[in-house]
Symmetry: C2
Subunit: 209 residues, 2 copies
DNA sequence: TAGATTGTTAATCGATTAACAATC
DNA sequence: TAGATTGTTAATCGATTAACAATC
């Protein structure tokens, strides 16, 4: 690691690099230059080299980058190797959809459990993952503290659920509740997916003459 | 409208302003200063005033902004008043979840139809919206051209489905396929929701030393 | 009126791009 | 070796913040 502070803008681009490199790798591409990767991604070669230089030296003059190697380096930077554990809290339509479709393992996450209050869901298994009673959350966390909780509970329960999980020691939150949740604890990280914000930017762009 | 070019950064902040103002409005708050809104949102008052100045003058010296008025002005800027029509293409778990949970009407969208290939889905109604056979897409579009298509088809069908819709005249795409889709046509707008990118930034932040 | 707060101009800061010596 | 391409420094560009006259 080279830089002490890596800007938010760089961090947001890392997953995209990872995605492109993964794609190139699966297509059998062995090496790539910053120039060629940049033109595929629609960004400058300078930006790629500048971004990567935050974390080390991964290329070779006159050659470029080894796709497989750079992919795995960026994966390592993103924490894909850490086998982070994750649980779903709230198995409504969205929680269910994520459990069914999202490839947690592909980005190094291990989906270990899901929680809900609905009797019709408790005890069922979705895509190999048990749905537990929300009342068992405390016991579960004391035994296998998950790294991340996916908040797919109703909006009204969002902050309270997060507070409870923070109390139990969970430090990462993937928030789908469309509410801004937060915690006093400074080592707690929240990443929110705001569907409405996303669709509204599209609305803006198709609106302007 | 004042500025000819509004930066991407400003556009990305608009929905968040809208969300906060909507919340304040529903709580009965009548007026707010840029200073007070800024401290709630964790940004500077300067930034708020600078952002708004791209679109006009909405405040009053010595008073601040009328919450209801500013909310509706930003709504108008975002195109919430346009009653954009939207259709779901691909009614898997995720498409289903969006149909069931997402409040399209709250941000001015009218969800008019859904399409799938599965015989068990075709003909059913989800949350008041008919699921039609994908083969009826051409006919449907020629009759009521939707402004936006939600791409919730399998990854492998993403680009082909989009190409077909562009051909039919659709100009806005809300892409959930985790594939980068694009079109030659310059007036086609794509907004992608990349779940993996989002979770990977969280992975990065909980991984650092 | 006096106090508060805007919209805007100027100053600062940070991010992107360009240039280039180093070197594979 | 000559050509290609890196990592890094310098230059540019754009975005954020500060300051303040205008004015409600």
């Amino acid at each position: 690691m080279k830089k002490q502070h890596v800007s938010e803008a760089v961090i947001r681009r890392l997953p995209r690099y990872y995605r492109y490199l993964d794609d190139l790798h699966s297509k059998g591409v062995v090496r790539i230059s910053s120039n060629s990767l940049g033109s595929r991604m629609g960004i400058t070669a300078s930006q790629i080299r500048q971004d990567l230089s935050c974390f080390g030296e991964f290329g070779q003059q006159g050659y470029g980058y080894n796709v497989k190697e750079l992919r795995s380096e960026i994966g390592r930077i993103l924490g894909v190797d850490n086998r982070h554990s994750i649980v779903v809290v709230g198995v409504g339509n969205l929680g269910h959809a994520l459990m069914q479709n999202f490839h947690f393992a592909d980005i190094g996450f291990s989906l270990d459990a899901a929680f809900d209050v609905s009797p019709s869901l408790i005890g069922t298994t979705i895509n190999g993952v048990k749905v537990l009673d929300l009342s068992e959350l405390d016991e579960y966390c004391s035994q296998h503290l998950p790294d991340v909780a996916i908040l797919t509970v109703p909006q009204s329960a969002a902050q309270a659920t997060m507070d409870r999980l923070v109390e139990l020691g969970v430090r990462g939150f993937w928030n789908f509740t469309n509410k801004e949740v937060s915690s006093e604890k400074e080592d707690v990280q929240v990443e929110s997916v705001h569907f409405a914000d996303s669709l509204l930017t599209l609305s803006y762009r198709i609106s302007k003459r």
